[in-house]
Amino acid sequence: MARLYTDQLAVGYGASPIVKDLTLTIPDKQVTTIIGANGSGKSTLLKAMTRLIPYTSGHVCLDGQAIQTEPTKKLAQKMAILPQAPEGSEGLTVYELVSYGRFPYQSALGRLSPHDYDVVNWALDVTQVSAFKDRAIDSLSGGQRQRVWIAMALAQETDIIFLDEPTTYLDMAHQLEVLTLLEKLNQEEGRTIIMVLHDINQAARFSDYIVALKDGVITKTGTPEDILTKDVLKAVFHIDAVIGKDPTNNKPMCLTYNLLKGDN
């Protein structure tokens, strides 16, 4: 039995909810990526699974308990989340921000225990930001800054990490840097990673499991080979895709695509 699953989940009010009757099991210790067009509900699904927004019916269960009934601090010891384009780091040093990741374990006064220090230092090392741990975050580049935020999420010491479009606003090299870091965390540390990505080729290259979403409903779930097919991409993105293989790693990839003509 997987630790995390949703059961007939619905999110959003009114006649047309954003996510409808969604049942999904997240495989443990794997990288799962949610893809879909704009407005498909992929970000909403991620937010509902991490209690950032409430769901209207159904369940999100972690370790057999609905997340809505679990104390939020307790949940923060099990799952970490990095929202899209996080803010509020102005005026902080790298070390200060990463140390906030220890909040779920701290008493009111916010003192750090020796174990807290160890975890923070480990998070700084593994994301390769320890070299500038005393620098102001304002002075860092976009890629460095994103690594610092990931370090903060890692300092939370959770088995499960959610990321909402972690590569947004980054250039190509920095995008790859972030994704390989996540890959490493999954492979070496066995962390379960669930993220939303825009780029289907990145999704195919870095995921074990892909969830394709359209209008708040799952179109198909499966391995990259299952999802990167002409039919699925047609259904999800409404495109006419040409699928090939990445010569460096044999993963499927979308070589090029055209807009579908006629039938819509």
Binding site: T72, P83, E87, E90, L92, Y100, L109, W149, F162
Partner: protein, 335 residues
């Protein structure tokens, strides 16, 4: 933690404490009657003249204490509001707490006869009631069903409510007697008026409760200052903590302005300067912000008392410094 910043904070705390002590001496010394330093020392050693003793212990010292306490309360309140709204432009005066306290105090003063002895203790309470009612009003107006509270919306609603209350104030005043209006006009200008020891005793308990409460919440303020998604992900109960901290901010500001009059900009400037010096971590900058706030208001009041024969309200002096600072911040925000 960050040793460099901690070291700088310790150094600045010492420096500001010394600066504050020197300013206190200057404040005892200055005023319509100048008391030279040696006579001040003699008076403290219990060798002063009756006249000097009266001026120092009954007039100047309580005023100095009130000013410093209010400066601390206002700057702490501003610091909380700035972190909750994630906006450096937040200030208790700006978002209508002062106006709310002002309306309540004016109504009390104009329509409810009170014994002078009771007056000093009732006024912080009434100011606070006015402030809290205003805060509830602002919260109510900026609340949207099924949506998280947007901090910027809170500020804009506050500015609107503040303007409306100022209008209401004009209506109340226009129907009142002339000498009573005089008091209210001075209150609005931020003339430190509660200058007897009872006002110190009336204000002190509020600080004794809400200052430690805020410091206990320092780590939560750190987390609340981050994006809402990050804060929830870290496991903070966002709505409860926000409400409690909002309440402390209102209590600190309203009880302070109740005895000092409507003073703005201290809550804006002091936290901002402190953050520029030691960064955004509340454990480091809150104590500095309090000392800076106390010092700024004390300097403003001392200048106001000694510049010309009549007293210039501290609120006006603060505004003369604070308004350009506010514009500077605003322009930086636009860039």
């Amino acid at each position: 933690m960050n040793k460099q910043r901690l070291k700088r904070q310790r150094w600045l705390l010492t420096f500001l404490t010394l600066l504050l002590l020197i300013t206190i001496l200057a404040a005892i010394n200055a005023g319509t009657v100048n008391i030279p330093l040696n006579r001040v020392i003699q008076t403290f050693l219990n060798n002063g003249s009756f006249n000097d003793q009266f001026i120092i212990f009954e007039l100047r010292l309580p005023r100095i204490f009130i000013t410093m306490l209010a400066g601390m309360g206002l700057s702490l309140s501003g610091a909380i509001l700035q972190s909750l709204t994630r906006n450096d432009l937040a200030d208790p005066g700006l978002i209508g707490i002062n106006a709310g306290a002002g309306v309540a105090i004016s109504i009390l003063f104009l329509f409810i006869p009170l014994e002078p002895g009771l007056f000093s203790y009732v006024i912080p309470l009434v100011g606070m009631l006015g402030g809290i009612s205003t805060a509830i009003l602002i919260y109510f107006f900026s609340y949207e069903r099924h949506r998280p509270l947007k901090p910027l919306r809170l500020i804009l609603t506050g500015v609107g409510v503040s303007t409306a209350l100022s209008g209401f104030m004009v209506v109340i005043i226009s129907s009142a007697e002339r000498e009573k209006v005089d008091f209210i006009a001075k209150w609005l200008a931020g003339n430190i008026w509660g200058t007897d020891w009872p006002f110190v005793y009336a204000l002190l308990p509020w600080l004794v409760v809400f200052v430690p409460l805020t410091f206990i919440k320092a780590q939560k303020l750190n987390i609340l200052h981050l994006s809402e998604g990050v804060a929830v992900g870290l496991g903070i109960r966002i709505q409860q903590e926000r409400l409690l901290l909002l309440f402390s901010a209102v209590a600190l500001a309203a009880s302070s302005v109740a005895v000092t009059g409507g003073i703005s900009f201290i809550g804006l400037m002091a936290p901002h300067i402190a953050k520029r010096l030691v960064g955004q971590r509340h454990q480091l900058f809150l104590p500095l912000a309090m000392l800076i706030g106390a010092w700024l208001l004390l300097v403003a009041d001392t200048i106001g008392r000694s510049l010309i024969a009549t007293i210039i309200p501290a609120g006006i002096i603060v505004s003369v410094i604070g308004a350009p600072y506010f514009i500077y911040l605003l322009m930086r925000e636009v860039d």
